[in-house]
């Protein structure tokens, strides 16, 4: 009897000890992971606050609506760069979107074949090519034969950059649609292309748009592929066969200049670019939430 009590007491201390040990480990891991999360946020927050701090003073109404001033004059704005970025990204989307969608649909619907895995591999390779190399390629393929820098060339470069991200996000999203939804469409006597474009696409529209918007947000900050394609332009230009201004290249040009006022404007333009990308991300998320309801 006594021995039994002793055993129970021993067991209880052991349980208590081990559960204390468990609690300590639990607490330690929790603290370590929280620290890691905070560390991960530090670059993001510091970039954001630093750009806001340096760039905010440059922002006023005039900055958004006026053209760059000639060298030596104080002031001027980024109006042409804003419009230029919109034109370049719009033109790039026009090229990259159908192209990426096409590849993505092919990969999700006919993705089991050897040819499809070769295509998937190629798309992944394209995604890992540095954007400056894409810029060089477009320079050789478009700028040299046309004998001029142009919005066409810049848009094509951005379009090529969009292809892999749009293709892979489209593939992943369409793959999420269960096979029995496709079969239900086929069983109604509908051809496969109608099932994909009219039924599957409609069901995943929100997610597809999110994928596109994220890749639009990504390419709208690209500088390298525009440097020797769209070049830049200090004047108004809507023409696609002429060099055109863009936010990232304008930031680059101002940042490497020797003038304090241009540095100030470069920070201001950087802040505008960050907010533009942030805005795209937020509206996409919002639209996504609305769409899934």
């Amino acid at each position: 009897m006594k021995q039994k009590d002793y055993r129970i007491a021993l067991l209880n201390t052991w349980i208590e000890k081990s559960s204390q040990r468990r609690k300590v480990i639990n607490w330690g891991v929790y603290v370590a992971l929280s620290l890691a999360a905070i560390l991960a946020l530090i670059p993001l927050i510091s970039v954001f606050s630093f750009v806001t701090f340096r760039g905010f003073s440059a922002l006023d109404w005039d900055f958004f609506i006026s053209l760059p001033k000639p060298v030596g004059e104080i002031g001027g704005g980024i109006a042409n760069a804003l419009v230029g970025t919109a034109i370049l990204v719009g033109f790039g989307t026009l090229i990259g979107l159908p192209w990426g969608f096409g590849i993505g649909i092919y990969l999700s619907e006919y993705g089991a074949s050897k040819r499809a895995s070769a295509i998937r591999f190629t798309v992944d390779l394209l995604a890992s090519i540095p954007s400056i190399v894409i810029g060089l390629f477009v320079y050789a393929a478009v700028v040299v034969p046309m004998k001029r820098f142009s919005a066409y060339a810049g848009g094509i470069a951005l379009g090529i950059l969009m292809v892999p991200t749009v293709a892979r996000s489209t593939e992943e999203i369409l793959k999420l649609v269960p096979i029995h939804i496709r079969e239900a469409g086929l069983a109604l006597g509908l051809p496969r292309w109608k099932v994909i474009l009219r039924i599957i696409f409609r069901g995943s529209l929100g997610a597809l748009i999110t994928g596109v918007m994220l890749s639009v947000a990504r390419v709208s900050g690209e500088t390298a592929p525009l440097l020797f394609t769209a070049l830049s332009n200090r004047f108004w230009s809507h023409r696609l066969d002429q060099p055109i201004a863009s936010l990232p290249v304008q930031i680059y040009n101002y940042a490497i200049s020797p003038y304090d006022d241009w540095h100030r404007q470069a920070w201001g333009a950087a802040l505008v670019l960050i907010f533009f990308v942030l805005f795209l991300n937020l509206t996409t998320r919002w639209a996504m939430k609305k769409g899934t309801k």
């Binding site: 239900a184 069983a187 409609r202 995943s204």
Partner: protein, 254 residues
Amino acid sequence: MEISSFFSTRDLNAWFGKTLAVRAVNMSFAENTVSAIIGPSGCGKSTFLRCLNRLHEEVPGARVNGTVLLENKNIYSKDVDPVELRRQIGMVFQKPNPFPAFSVFDNVAVGLKLAGIRKSTILKDAVERSLRMAALWDEVKDKLNDAGTSLSGGQQQRLCIARALAVEPRVLLMDEPTSALDPISTAKIEELVSELKKAVTIIIVTHNMQQAARISDQTAFFLLGDLIEYGATSQLFTAPKDNRTERYITGRFG
């Protein structure tokens, strides 16, 4: 068996890669009857059903040979377009699968719409008729614009039945249509099947032997890809001819 030759199979084989899943099946289905197919999991009954509307061949690596005759026309002959064929042989699946982001109305109308029918009066009539046939009209007539996926599971399955009926098929294939539903929804669908056979010929795969006994005119028993026995439901369940059928329906294996 003296069954008219409305819909029948001759030496139908189905493969998945190198696996023979359905072996030399000969069956015929009379018009406006309900035929049930029972058998343990993996016996090839669903595969057999999917050969009847040429859906089996859509699976990569899957293959069919043999003959399926719909009113004396082989649906596997080269001049038959599987897309056209599937309009005549509708299908309802195991899990209710209304099209996501489609309203109740659009789920039913989509088959006709995408076949090129635009006139809204025709579509409206077809949707109401199909939903009435599926015994769903009274429950959804005030929420035709709600998402199809917002309905309950049993309602969703009846919506899928209405969707299949809207293109006016001759035959309706049902692949375990109640296995994901509660007993009340199941009872509704069973009742519906008995009603629907006035309009379409129904072939239903089921795991539930009581269900087969309740709703079907003929029953077939499949085992390991073979058709073991096929006959009038009352006879198959009370006096099976084959020893294996008897052991299965009395629950001694499978």
